[in-house]
Amino acid sequence: MNMSLKKSHHMGRWILTAIAVSWFMILILVPVGGLLQKLMTQPFAEIYRSLQTATAARAFLLTAKVTFLAVAINMVMGILMAKVIVTQKFRGKLFIEGLIDLPFAISPVVVGFMLVILFGPYGWLGGLLESVGVKVIYATPGIVIATVFVTLPFVAKEVIPVYQQAGLQSEEAAQVLGASQWQAFWWVTLPTIKWGVIYGVTLALARSLGEFGAVLVVSGSIINQTETATLFIHQQFTDFNYTSAYTASLLIAAIAFIILIGIEWLAKSKKET
């Protein structure tokens, strides 16, 4: 009786595992495999040539620039916001934490639309900036601002719990021992929150490499000027240039994937040792 009960238990385990694993394969792995297979049927020379165009190079370069700027800004501001949230008491803290979360909840298209309203020629800031010669919408600054918006929460969200867990005692102790506030933060706190920062930066990187909706609305997608990698992919796909669309798709997804999974793996092995 006990044996059969155990057996049925094992059977149940096996079935549940099979369902979850098959679901994962059908939903996630098969589409990725489909893209890979599509590319493998193309002659290699054509794949290589498809990304050799100046347009493709410019698009990837623009994405690299925008990603670097947006992630750098959000790394600094994310650490600062986490520091303020964890170490300071002030009124309206819950509201501020909600504000930090907000970009995750807003549709990328709405993000783009809001920025067009604000920074467009008739917007509150757009007119002002245009009068000093800075064009935001349909230009690179708009793409950077849109990317900053959609990646704003990542670093702060990852650092806050790590910071809270690390506690403030060691930072305060360092200050009692004569370290300046800056020194205490740099030498004592930063090493303890390091992995939170790295993981947040990684997620922000992946998101900004792949951002499409918000960038599409603010950029106007002007070829060779405001076309990022994802806009390039979309353009090529709608123009039936499938080889370059697929190649660029795989390239950008592979970069993001290697960064994301690589860092996660590194963090895990660091924590275990």
Partner: protein, 272 residues
Amino acid sequence: MDRRPPGALLQRSLMFIYLGLFILLPIAAITMASLEEGVTTLWNSISSAQALSALRLTLVTAFIMMIINVIMGTLTAYILVRYPFPGKKIMNALIDLPFAVPTVVTGIMLVILYGPTSTLGSILSGFDLEVVFAKPGIILALLFVTYPFVIRSVQPVLMEMTADTEDAARTMGASNLRVFVTVTLPALLPSILTGAALSFSRAVGEFGSIVVVAGNIPFKSQVAAVYIYGELESNNPQGAMGLSVVLLIISFVVLIFLNLLQRQKWLTGGQS
């Protein structure tokens, strides 16, 4: 000792300026702009038949996705934490794969797989099941982009929860299903709801994957975000305003819900 160093105020002010400039100001700008032409104009842009149809499609597909995600996400988190099986480590590492894939690429992958010229697509169309440019394609795209949310929300809670309580209930004669429903599930509920809310809010605003896989067919495959984009493309920001405001309100509601959930979780965690 001075408990409030001068740097603190500067840092806090910097944070306020940053959040004010990047988040509050754009929201204030769209709020003002939406009311500029009067509430009636705003209401008209929401209540046009096409906008309402897009909104309905968005909510229905997001809801179906959420139900599937709650079931499959909880199951996946459960087997990843509780059951050993070959390839588990790799699968666990690949759960976040959808976060690395740009949304446009997700759409393209689904078109390759289910499009009318693909093998699978032609088989499915033989059964009269249209995936691309139709509802199933939207739901598949949403399931792909939101795949990690419920799993990554439930997993850590399940890991912290030892199997002891479950085992105790089992030795007392409760069936596996009964143990799961009466012991495990209640403990997981806040994290399941968190994952569900996150995936729902992501799905309601999703654009890139859907515009590729479902296109922009009014009354059929046009979701809210695609409708907004279409209005902006055709130079009609007033028409885009209505659904933008509705999506923003949905975002706020979901955030408030998540916030309440967080505090609830903290409360019950404190009591036990």
